[in-house]
Amino acid sequence: MASVDDYVARIEGTCGEEKDVIVIFKYDKKDEAITRIRQKAQLKNTIAGIIFELTFRDISFRVYASGKAIFRSIKNKEELYSILAALLL
């Protein structure tokens, strides 16, 4: 059975007061992950087809074609995993 960890290589909590969280997708799964996320989240804006500004469950985030996503205002790891599971699985 697929899990979030099948798609995610690493999660980095950023340094700074914004407390952004950066999700780095596994290299060989990044395209699939981005496709799945784009199918479920609402696209608000895109730049040159490489940066996607999206919202899902009132949480805004950006996905980069390089295979990284940046989430804001995430309370904790459980909340992030719950959102990723809903987006990816």
Binding site: T14, C15, G16, E17, E18, D20, I22, N45, I47, A48, I50, I51, E53, R62, Y64, A65, S66, K68, I70, R72
Partner: protein
């Protein structure tokens, strides 16, 4: 100096990131390595690998010769009086921890004061804070002006008869501000106070002369000056190092460990500096590779290194201020008081967004607090993006960076 010629020595600069040529602007965090340093590492492990000191076989003697020659050359590089004043450590952080624990534990008591500035890297703040909680002394912080420059009047006014050591970075890792450590060292010594300089962002970029500035301790990292990670230097005046207790215990740092049957314990005598502070097998290859890095920089000339970085900084600052509408740059406007580090923000975007966007185009910059949260409080910033330059960066790379910043402004 010719950065285009220099670039040929750096294999990694041929990489493409997300289909774009790699532009490496995160040099304040770590620098890339030239072939000469990579070859020095390869040569050591292929031809000379042995443990240093206390062995008589050929490989050990060769390794010892290379390791101690590196120490001598690095001593000359910063104009130390004696190679015994060069202690190899893991990096700047370990060097400052060594002084805080070894000198601080032995010399600081309740009522004493340690003086530093609000622009310090956490690696200069935290070790002193930890030891202060053990020994009960006070850490005082001098102010920084709104443009990131040191408030010299405030720093100098905070020296008292209780101040035992002043700790100051020579170059801020956030703003690139260059501090006059010679001036502060003079004031410190007039008050009978020692002077520790965090040279992590200065030694790789400019000529640092410990005797001219009369610095008591200088800490710097190899990986920020073309060397490998895991190697750095603590310079300390010999007479100070001789009086200090060891930082860690183990092999190499002792002269003798003699078991006394009558007392049921070991009588231990310390080795001389610098080995007294190098417990266990040191990073032999790291020291040798750092020497290769120093030789590489010396061939270019440290004045040329600084000149090139200031040229790029001036060029980038002008472009950022004229071509971008939502970009705010922090730090002093006077170029002579700063190095090749530019902190900035893009209105409406987090620094991490900016860094991720740049990464998408193959441009590596830093985002966050850069381990200097107090200075971000001075700038009233939640975090910042930071571009930092080195010898292999070019004006064309700055042009590309500006193009990408303009793209970011469309977000």
């Amino acid at each position: 100096m010719d950065p285009y010629r220099i670039r040929e020595d750096f294999p990694i600069l041929k990489r493409k990131i997300n289909g774009n040529p790699l532009i490496y602007f995160d040099n304040a965090a770590t620098t890339q390595k030239p072939r000469q340093v990579i070859e020095a590492i390869k040569d050591f492990y292929e031809n000379h690998n042995g443990n240093v000191h206390r062995a008589v076989h050929t490989l050990s003697l060769e390794a010892t010769e290379l390791y101690e020659k590196a120490r001598e050359n690095i001593a000359r590089f910063i104009n130390a009086r004696d190679s015994a004043e060069i202690v190899f450590v893991r990096g700047t952080t370990e060097a400052i921890n060594l002084v805080a624990y070894s000198w601080g534990m032995g010399n600081l008591e309740k009522g004493d004061e340690v003086l530093m500035s609000l622009m310090e890297h956490h690696s200069n703040i935290v070790p002193w804070d930890i030891v202060s909680k053990i020994k009960g002394f006070t850490v005082k912080y001098a102010k920084v002006h709104d443009d990131g420059t040191l408030d010299y009047a405030d720093f100098e006014s905070k020296f008292t008869s209780k101040t035992k050591i002043a700790c100051l970075s020579q170059v801020s890792n956030v703003s690139g501000v260059v501090n006059d450590v010679k001036r502060i060292a003079k004031v410190a010594h007039d008050h009978g106070t020692l002077m520790l300089v965090d040279g992590a962002q200065s030694v790789p970029h400019m000529k640092v002369d410990v005797r001219d500035a009369d610095i008591d301790f200088l800490a710097f990292s190899g990986h920020k000056m073309l060397g490998p990670t895991g190697i750095g230097v603590l310079y300390g005046k010999k007479e100070l190092l001789e009086k200090m207790n060891p930082f860690q215990g183990g092999g190499e740092m002792i002269k003798e460990v003699a078991f006394r049957q009558d007392k049921e314990r070991c009588d231990i005598s310390w080795n001389d500096p610098p080995w007294k502070f190098e417990a266990g097998t040191p990073n032999i290859c790291g020291g040798i590779a750092l020497n290769a890095a120093v030789k590489y920089l010396e061939q270019i000339g440290m004045d040329e290194v600084l000149k090139h970085e200031r040229m790029l900084t001036k060029y980038a600052l002008e472009k950022m201020q004229t071509c971008c509408n939502r970009v705010a740059v922090y730090g002093p406007s006077e170029l002579t008081s700063k190095c090749g580090i530019i902190p900035f923000t893009v209105d409406g975007l987090s620094s991490h967004d900016v860094a991720l966007f740049c990464d998408n185009y193959g441009i590596m910059i830093r985002s966050g607090f850069h381990c200097a949260q107090p200075l971000h409080q001075v700038f009233k910033l939640q975090s910042s993006a930071r571009a930092s330059f080195y010898i292999y960066n070019t004006r064309e790379e700055v042009d590309r960076f500006i193009e990408v910043l303009k793209e970011i402004e469309r977000l």
